[in-house]
């Protein structure tokens, strides 16, 4: 007897510990929901659920353990009910239960569901029991079909997204080093640009404007770099073409 009691104590301690863990994490979650609902993100929320589910599993494991005595064989008896406030009770229940009275005791010592809840459970069970096997099968397959479809959609979207981001981050070529080298050496040293015939005659092949007099051709007379610090230009007539252009560009009438 002595040994059994000891075992019971140990089992109860273990259960209480697990239940406390569970309670702790539930209250943590509630605090989070209340205080951080604006910044709370979905993954951490799901993490909380996962934690709780783990704790529940642990609890069930403890209950089904061989070492655990069959709790259902034990009876809990309220020995004394009292209308008085019991500070000790208040402390150990974290200010939840002020007194162990007639009113509250049945609820706390309840081993069955509330009558109306029990009734509704019963109804549902009857309904489920009435369903034929084929119908159930049909519903299950319909449900599976929907789920598969959603799964497909999600995985396809994910595939697309991954392939796109993969290609973007991938080494898409926008510049070619060999082309850079080709171009730079071409404009700097004339690679690939030099004329095939060696120039005996140094004269450029006739792409010159009219020689002799400057300004007869298109470029107009002497023109200065505007950024010169050498003072204002003197009387410098520019080409005729420039003149017309300037006149049509500057709108003198636009006031």
């Amino acid at each position: 007897m002595q040994r059994e009691e000891k075992q019971l104590d140990m089992a109860l301690d273990a259960i209480i510990m697990r239940v406390n863990d569970l309670k702790q994490s539930i209250s943590n979650m509630i605090v989070k929901l209340e205080l951080e609902h604006e910044t709370l993100n979905w993954p951490t929320f799901l993490d909380n659920f996962a934690l709780m589910s783990g704790q529940l599993t642990a609890l069930t494991k403890v209950l089904t353990q061989d070492k655990c005595p069959a709790l259902r064989n034990l009876v809990v008896l309220p020995i004394q009910l009292s209308q008085e406030r019991d500070p000790e009770l208040l402390r150990i229940t974290e200010q939840r239960v002020p007194q162990f009275s007639h009113d509250l005791a049945p609820d706390y010592l309840r081993t069955k569901l509330e009558p109306d809840v029990e009734q509704r459970m019963l109804q549902l069970e009857i309904k489920a029991g009435n369903m034929t096997y084929e119908m159930a099968q049909k519903q299950v397959s319909a449900f599976n079909k929907v789920m598969n479809h959603v799964w497909d959609v999600v995985s396809k979207a994910r595939e697309e997204w991954e392939s796109e981001s993969g290609s973007r981050s991938g080494p898409q070529q926008t510049t070619s080093i060999s082309d850079t080298h080709l171009l730079v050496s071409a404009i700097s040293a004339g690679k690939n640009l030099k004329m095939p015939v060696p120039q005996g005659q140094a004269g450029p092949p006739g792409m010159m404007g009219p020689g002799g007099r400057p300004g007869v051709g298109p470029p107009g007379g002497p023109m200065m770099n505007p950024g010169q610090q050498m003072g204002p230009m003197g009387k410098v007539p520019s080409g005729i073409k420039t003149n017309i252009k300037a006149a049509s560009q500057i709108h003198p009438y636009n006031r």
Binding site: Q173, T174, T175, S176, I177, D179, T180, H181, L182, L183, V184, S185, A186, I187, S188, A189, G190, K191, N192, L193, K194, M195, Q199, A202, G203, P204, P205, M207, M208, G209, P210, G211, G212, P214, G215, G217, P218, P219, G220, G221, P222, M223, M224, N225, Q229, M230, G239, K241, T242, K245
Partner: protein, 216 residues
Amino acid sequence: MMAQPLSSAIDTAFKSNIVPDQEYLLQGSVLDKVVEVLLHRLRGLCDNVDSGPEPFQDHEMCFTIRTTPTPLNLRVRRALDHQEMPWQLRYIGQPEYGDKMRPTIIRSSIDIGCSATVVEFLTELGCRMEFEYIARGYMFRKGRMKITVSKVFKMNQNKSQESMEPLSESYLVELSVLAPRGQDAIAEDMRSFAEQLRPLVNLDKVDFKRLVHGPP
């Protein structure tokens, strides 16, 4: 050689480092198919947002003249799309690549606006035209930085502009600043700007000398 008031004025200008004669340069290229993306990005990054990119089409001729110790390179550039603009004569010195710490190529550069007779002038002077090409593309500005995105074409003999033969399937991208001597801070700005264009374009110090002598 000449002791004239004007040239002495220029001497003073050179001595007091107000003539922008140093070119800071970074080069790179971008494949034809993504050039639109680059142009779009440059439009967003550069100053001329509202006016859009400035198109250009230039004809560049490169001349050399034998001087001691090294031959001198002179370049003549003219705008094919704005024939009335003055031509540009340009002297480009030997590029300095520096070590890893230096962000850009530095080379001395003198830009001179001049009349269209410049080619005949140089030829008579004893210069020899080495090669010529046409660059067509877009120019962007960002502060003092100039960004050109251009396609390089070979000159063909019949001169029709439609049938120009591109040199490669990429656009040449150049980031340059012309500044007076000793303003190395701008090079850092260029590096950070080039960083913003990565990985679309890798603007870097391209040492063409090594490329020319390296494997073809």
